[in-house]
């Protein structure tokens, strides 16, 4: 019977103006979604290329200076005899000076499917030009990767994830809201019942035909997206496709469950739309809010203030000596009483002591902030399934590499890299080293390794599947179509 109903439904869809309207609008929306997402990917990549070119210019200038020193066209100032009046020409071989002039780029590459899901990638910086100067002057916390119109930023982007998350369920609602009620209202139900069809058969047939139509469109748009971002055939594209199928299957079953309630056409339509609104426009935000821990803003809001406090306090009489002793003991493992003269350079050591204290304070604030956010993530992993749309969105953003956890991992990586680079320079100062170009090129560079945490995406997809199965058990109970 189901086969016959499927054939019947396919013929109905072929003649249905409603289906034609839905398909045309879905195709047009998918095209716009691809344009919207890829526009952001292009801006992201362009900003990254600009940062790379700036760092390349810095590196070339440095190489030119080294070459100039070698062939005596550049004569750097000797710090020990500098009169404070004549022009100061920095010597990049001096590790102290090197801290100012050697730039490294720390960059978060575009996620594998950035362009299909924008996620949080607009909200935080995605590259930093690093020197061994204090961290607080390098990280611009909570700033977007690129200048974006505030209204546009607040509205968010229309990308393929939004298309799949919002418009495909809306299309399903438009195709399925009267899956049973229309037959009842138009009086066809007794005829179908007489032919041996029951309500479950009709629901399954409608679900298979109409659900498949929307899923096929969503997958086709996704495949175009994979090709455009160069990720066709990747693991991320597979996860994305699986997630899309699971999510749309969930919505198909949910809408069939509403259609099976016995409400009339108007009731089914109103409830389908209301459920769409509740699950997609309302529940993600409210679930996030309910799970959000307090204290997310405070550590970062005070990070700069704590750094300034260190600056002020170390100007008090005797404070610098105490700070130097503390840093020498706790971080540098050096005894200045027996250290070489060059390690006790006037002006350099106090500054590096202060930098170290400021970096420790600032990094601690960033890490505390990140820990609070990670706690939020854990809560969302544990309870986010309460809103299947939220679970789906988080899973898909993680697949696309536009999730906040990835950006947080990048920031923590930047802090670690900065510490390694600063320590390299500090050791150079304490051990009276001279840096040549080769030594700088051998210094640490920032490397990014993609986090390998499939938990969120697996939980997200699992939760929508479980919800779908539970709803299916309710919706597909075998009941007569008529009477």
């Amino acid at each position: 019977m189901i086969r016959a109903l499927i054939r019947l439904d396919i013929r109905l869809l072929q003649r249905s103006r409603a289906a034609a309207v839905v398909v045309i609008l879905l195709v047009a929306a998918a095209a716009l979604a691809l344009v919207g997402g890829l526009d952001w990917r292009e801006r992201y990549v362009r900003a990254s290329e600009q940062a790379q070119s700036q760092v390349a210019e810095d590196a070339k200038a440095l190489a030119d200076t080294y070459a100039g020193i070698e062939n005596n066209t550049v004569k750097p100032t000797d710090d020990t005899t500098y009169d404070g009046v004549s022009e100061y020409i920095p010597d990049p071989r001096d590790p102290y000076v090197a801290g100012y002039y050697h730039t490294r780029l720390a960059e978060l590459p575009a996620g594998p499917l950035l362009g299909l899901a924008t996620g949080s990638s607009e909200l935080r910086a995605t590259h930093h030009r690093l020197k061994s100067v204090p961290l607080y002057s390098l990280l611009r916390i909570g700033e977007p990767a690129e200048r974006v119109n505030p209204g546009a930023l607040a509205a968010g982007r229309f990308d393929l994830l939004v298309f799949i998350m919002f418009l495909c369920p809306l299309a399903l609602a438009m195709l399925l809201f009267d899956a049973v009620a229309r037959e009842k209202e138009t009086g066809i139900a007794p005829l179908l019942a007489g032919l041996g069809a029951n309500r479950r058969d009709l629901l399954v047939a409608r679900g298979l035909v109409r659900g498949s139509l929307v899923m096929a469109l969503a997958l086709a748009a996704s495949v175009v997206g994979f090709i455009l971002v160069g990720a066709f055939g990747s693991a991320a594209s597979l996860w994305w496709s699986l997630g899309t199928l699971a999510y749309l299957m969930f919505w198909t079953i949910l809408l069939l469950a509403i259609a099976a309630t016995g409400l009339n056409v108007i009731g089914c339509a109103a409830v389908s739309i209301a459920v769409w609104v509740a699950l997609l426009l309302v529940s993600p935000g409210l679930t996030e809010r309910a799970l959000r821990p307090d204290g997310l803003l405070e550590p970062r809001a005070l990070a700069d203030a704590d750094v300034r406090k260190i600056m002020r306090e170390t100007t008090e009489p005797g404070a610098m000596e105490a700070a130097t002793a503390q840093v020498a003991r706790d971080y540098w493992n050096i005894n200045f009483a027996t250290a070489p003269t060059c390690a006790n350079r006037e002006g350099v050591i106090p500054e590096y002591v202060r930098r170290r204290l400021m970096d420790e304070s600032y990094a601690a604030a960033m890490r505390t902030g990140a820990a609070r956010e990670a706690l939020f993530d854990v809560r969302l992993d544990r309870w986010g399934w309460l809103s299947p749309a939220l679970a789906f969105r988080r899973a898909m953003e993680q697949v696309a590499g536009s999730d906040p956890a990835r950006q947080r991992a990048f920031e923590l990586g930047v802090i670690d890299f900065h510490a390694a680079w600063r320590n390299r320079v500090t050791q150079g100062i304490l051990q009276c080293e001279r840096f040549d170009l080769a030594a700088f090129e051998a210094a640490p560079t920032f490397s990014w390794r993609e986090p390998n945490d499939a938990g969120t995406r697996a939980m997200g997809l699992l939760s929508v599947l479980v919800f779908g199965i539970l709803l299916g058990l309710v919706a597909f109970r075998k009941r007569p179509l008529f009477g």
Partner: protein, 471 residues
């Protein structure tokens, strides 16, 4: 039906809606959604406001108690200011969560506000969110449209329209009663949350803002309900009608505004790098407080001439402090010009973004909501300007105090112990409703245009019903 036809239609429509479980469930769901959204938004606002206010108090206390040091050192170490709460932030946060709430003020440099609250909230839904007003406009608006359509199309869909015409029902009373009943249903669903929100509104002109916002929101819902009823009367018999209405709403609220955003940013582009490069290039044309430049030499000669001395050591004032202040003033004018240009770019982009208002009333209502709540980009701009004015005053006072009380080259000089505590905390004037009223006009005009269009659509739907009866 005669002269009582409106009343009779109204009673009939009311009875039909009260028997419609789907419509009632939808209205009840909307009521619950809005109440929960209000409570969630209020809690979110409290958490954010407490975080920023506590930080501001701590920072000010640290400034007051700072060790005695040279005023210019104090200017370098600077102070941090936090964005004040918007008047209706609990129910409409507008663009503020996506813009920096913290500005570090220091000598020589105007820093942009950083740390947007949304950036630390992990995922934050931008299609609906948690605040009352956007949810009312987006979710409530969509439900009003769909309910209007379903109520408007009831007779067409069931094939009962000829029966109604046969009983002498005229188009206008029918359309009017359907619109009134739909709007009343939606208003009733909205009312509990509106009352709750109204009770929680703070002092100042927040009450007036809330009243204006509530009135505009109800008008917006009526517009959408009217469009829904008119569409239902026109397209009710067609099965694709609901799909067309739902997708038109999605286009006008979810898709086109965002596509127009992209077009606006492409038409009037500005990148952070361009802005930074322009500012840096202009800086190099002015005096340098900590280094040499042609402009510094010109300034030094001018000061020497003003005091009639031939060397800076002979000056009765501290030239270093004067030079730093001259640099401050030059940089201030550069920032004013370049950031003013950037703000003009933002305004031009926003003007282009208004094209989305042509496709539906909700984008205009969202703009109106953010502006009336004092939570739009203009509010952020005012915060940025207030912080800069505070910075210039602070740094200027520190530089002038140093110039007047110390000699050139004396970087060790410090003021008396109570000096730093004498500075008042950052408390910008709260924007009044009158300040924001001008910005409300375009979106208010757009809403009025949509009301007119909605009523024209209703009148046309009524005439169509009457004509089909005559035919």
């Amino acid at each position: 039906m005669g002269r009582f036809s409106v009343l009779a239609s109204l009673i009939l429509e009311t009875r039909l809606v009260l028997r419609d479980r789907g419509a009632l469930v939808t209205a009840a769901l909307l009521a619950v959604i809005l109440i929960v959204a209000f409570i969630a938004g209020r809690d979110a606002d409290r958490a954010e406001t407490n975080a920023l206010q506590a930080s501001a108090q701590k920072v000010q206390a640290e400034w007051n108690a700072q060790p005695l040091q040279n005023p210019h050192s104090a200017a370098h170490y600077g102070i941090i200011v936090y964005r004040p709460r918007a008047p209706l932030q609990a129910i409409e946060a507008g663009t503020l969560p996506y813009q920096g709430a913290v500005t570090f003020l220091e000598a020589h440099k105007r820093n942009a506000p950083m740390l947007s609250p949304a950036s630390v909230r992990n995922a934050d839904s931008r299609y609906g969110g948690t605040r009352f007003s956007p949810l009312l406009q987006i979710a409530g608006g969509f439900l009003a449209l769909v309910l209007g359509f379903l109520i408007g199309s009831r007779e067409q869909r069931r094939g009962m329209a000829p029966l109604l015409r046969g009983t002498g029902v005229r188009g206008l009373p029918l359309v009017a009663s359907k619109t009134v009943v739909t709007a009343t249903l939606i208003a009733a669903a909205t009312l509990p949350a509106l009352v709750l929100a109204g009770l929680s509104v703070g002092g100042g002109d927040a009450g007036l803002r809330f009243a204006v916002l509530s009135g505009a929101s109800l008008l917006h819902l009526i517009v959408l309900a009217s469009i829904g009823v008119a569409a239902g009367m026109w397209l009710g018999a067609a099965r694709f009608g609901l799909a067309a209405v739902a997708f038109c709403w999605a286009l006008s609220v979810m898709i086109l505004p965002r596509m127009i955003d992209i077009a606006a940013e492409r038409a009037v582009p500005l990148t952070q790098r361009e802005l930074g490069e322009r500012i840096q290039a202009d800086f190099e044309l002015g005096p340098d407080g900590h280094g040499g430049s042609d402009a510094s030499a010109v300034f030094e000669n001018k000061i020497l001439a003003d005091y009639g001395v031939s060397s800076k050591e002979a000056l009765p004032v501290n030239l270093d402090a004067l030079m730093m202040q001259a640099e401050e003033e030059h940089r201030g004018s550069v920032y004013d010009r370049r950031l003013g240009e950037a703000e003009q770019v933002r305004i031009r982009q926003d003007t282009i973004r208004q094209a989305s208002w042509l496709f539906g009333p909700t984008p205009a209502m969202l703009d109106f909501s953010a502006r009336v709540a004092g939570a739009d980009a203009a509010t952020q701009h005012r915060f940025d300007e207030s912080a800069e004015a505070f910075r210039r005053d602070l740094v200027g006072r520190l530089n002038r105090h140093m110039a007047a009380n110390s000699k050139t080259g004396d970087w060790e000089w410090t003021p008396d112990d109570q000096y730093y505590a004498s500075f008042a905390a950052f408390r910008p004037n709260a924007p009044t409703f009158a300040d924001d009223a001008g910005g409300l006009m375009p979106s208010a005009a757009a809403l009025l245009a949509w009301i007119t269009l909605a009523f024209i659509a209703l009148a046309l739907a009524a005439r169509r019903f009457d004509r089909s009866a005559q035919a």
